[in-house]
């Protein structure tokens, strides 16, 4: 970026107006948007679904290898993913930012461009937010609202014994993208002359920096008249997240290692870093794929959908939460997902 405009030139109200003036409204339910004490939504005969996520610099992202446009995009996506994981459709978001004075207006414009792309791609309206200076770093707080046909939302606590466990897409790539970026950062810090080697790593880097929220899977399940018995999105890693469904449903599970979907690029990257791709899928996180359970009777409806994998089944709580490896060994599943408080 060439220019640098200081934020104080605009003031708080001018800043919000400036950053959001190109945002369109897509939903008839958005009655009143930015510019008043609050926004107003009419979800007619539907129920409103609400989720919120914080993204903190140095904890959830590193600006050294996260372009601001991607960060704006991703901060919306991670919230939409939670809405889809309720079997709902996202309709509105609020976006709040606390940033230190090292951020110029041009930097914030880049961020909001990413927000706008996500909003347009998923037909979601930005209806409010707040901005402030911070003492250090960037803190992003997004709240997303969605709508669902009354009582058609899907919780984590309603899986039943015998249900099939399914995941969308493939797992582990975002973690390997992160591993790659951290390695390149380390090399760069040791020797700033070395150019990063990201050739052939488009897939894993893209999964880290440009995640998708699986609207297509929710829409597919609806066309097939499949209502998952339980569902959540995979943000902390398959291990941690399947354990949430087991715990909240008072059940156990069996997962088959050879059924866990892995992209070829993920396997290649794991090999290069000397990591086990299954461990990356189990503990990596940030995949934003959907993890759901469904009745066995629905199995025939998904056999032609290549983007849904059946990876195991739910069983009684006394049978434990176990993974069966390719070598037919049986291990307990441990939550080693990414934990914001572990350091």
């Amino acid at each position: 970026m060439q220019e640098r405009t200081e934020i104080e030139k605009l003031g708080e109200f001018g800043l919000i107006n400036h950053l959001t003036e190109n945002f369109e409204t897509f939903n008839a339910s958005t009655i009143l948007s930015i510019g008043d004490d609050a926004a107003v939504i009419d979800h007619y005969g539907k129920q409103t679904v609400v989720t919120t996520d914080l993204l903190v610099e140095g904890v959830h992202f590193d600006l050294m290898y996260t372009p601001l446009k991607h960060l704006g995009f991703k901060s919306v996506i991670v919230n939409l993913s939670d809405i889809y994981a309720m079997n709902a459709q996202p309709t509105q978001i609020t976006m709040s930012l606390a940033f230190s004075n090292r951020f110029s207006l041009e930097a914030l414009e880049e961020f909001y461009l990413g927000v706008q792309i996500a909003c347009e791609q998923y037909g979601v309206d930005l209806i409010g937010g707040d901005t402030s200076t911070s003492q250090k770093g960037l803190v992003i707080s997004v709240t997303a609202l969605g709508e669902v046909v009354p009582d058609k939302f899907v919780k984590r606590s309603t899986a039943e014994s015998g249900d099939l466990i399914c995941v969308s897409g493939d797992l582990g790539a975002a973690f390997l993208g992160l591993t790659l970026m951290e390695r390149e950062k380390k090399i760069f810090l040791e020797n700033p002359q070395v150019q990063p080697t990201l050739e052939n790593e488009d897939y894993i880097v893209g999964r880290l920096l440009k995640p998708a929220a699986r609207k297509d899977i929710i829409d597919y399940l609806a066309t097939q008249e499949i209502v998952p018995t339980a569902m959540m999105d995979i943000s902390d890693g398959l291990s941690s997240d399947i354990l949430h469904i087991c715990k909240q449903s008072n059940l156990g599970c069996r997962i088959y290692e050879d059924k866990i979907p892995l992209n070829e690029a993920t396997k290649a990257a794991a090999f290069k870093f000397g990591l086990d791709p299954t461990v990356c899928a189990l503990n990596g996180g940030e995949d934003y794929e959907l993890l759901f359970t469904m009745k066995q009777a629905d199995y025939d409806k998904i056999t032609l959908q290549e983007d849904i994998s059946v990876i195991g089944y739910m069983c009684d709580q006394e049978e434990g939460t176990k993974i069966i490896t390719k070598g037919n060994n049986v291990f307990d599943i441990n939550a080693q997902g990414w934990n914001a408080f572990s350091k």
Copy 2:
């Protein structure tokens, strides 16, 4: 506080569960609360109102003189105030916190106790949130939802020429409370042996640390069948906020200095600090009183309500935005409200 429990002992999910386990649900509209990807709300035949506010340490509050319980309380109140300012009733909030590792579990418990008191006092449900570590300081992000009878919400842009301008309660006290606390902090930093002298300053300190959201005024207006023509809450100061209504309604205004409501304690504190109490009321902010316009025909309905003051009237845009002083001088109203970007 005597004990100090490190947060990592609980983990993120344990932390949220621990901090929110005593929270009750007050609203039938809260279908699903904390513990899933998202919460679910059914506002039946009503419209949903949404607002969000960030509170950042060092910008919006100073922990040196803000007890965490008061901070938790206030961070809810400032959002509820925005919901009431739409002529709506708050029903749910989400609460997200980013905090550095200097915060113990006991400190967070104090904060959530304040959140809980506010929720109970106003019958609002905590339905979600997120917690994270931060690089420095405490960042609080609250989103509040409310409900309103379809199309009965009140915007800032719908005042009409000739409407009366009203404010609830009294103004300027929170700013003087802040001035006092900043002075005591300075004295303390220069000489830690000196005890703070806060006698007889309960009112102004209380207005800073324990603000009220004016549910009572919204309820009163409803019983009197008064629908304000425009409304907002006073967070940045009367000057800045009346200019929002004027600008968004394409109108001018006349405010009478002698009609601006001031508490005796506010006048006394202003005198002590050598400040003009009117200037404190105009530019101080953080009063969280309601500023609204109404038809002249409704005047008789509020004459017995001592907590509503008529301070002027709306006029055509060409007539400008002016204040008439006690000495009958006429000045332009300038927005000198608190600005998060001014430093």
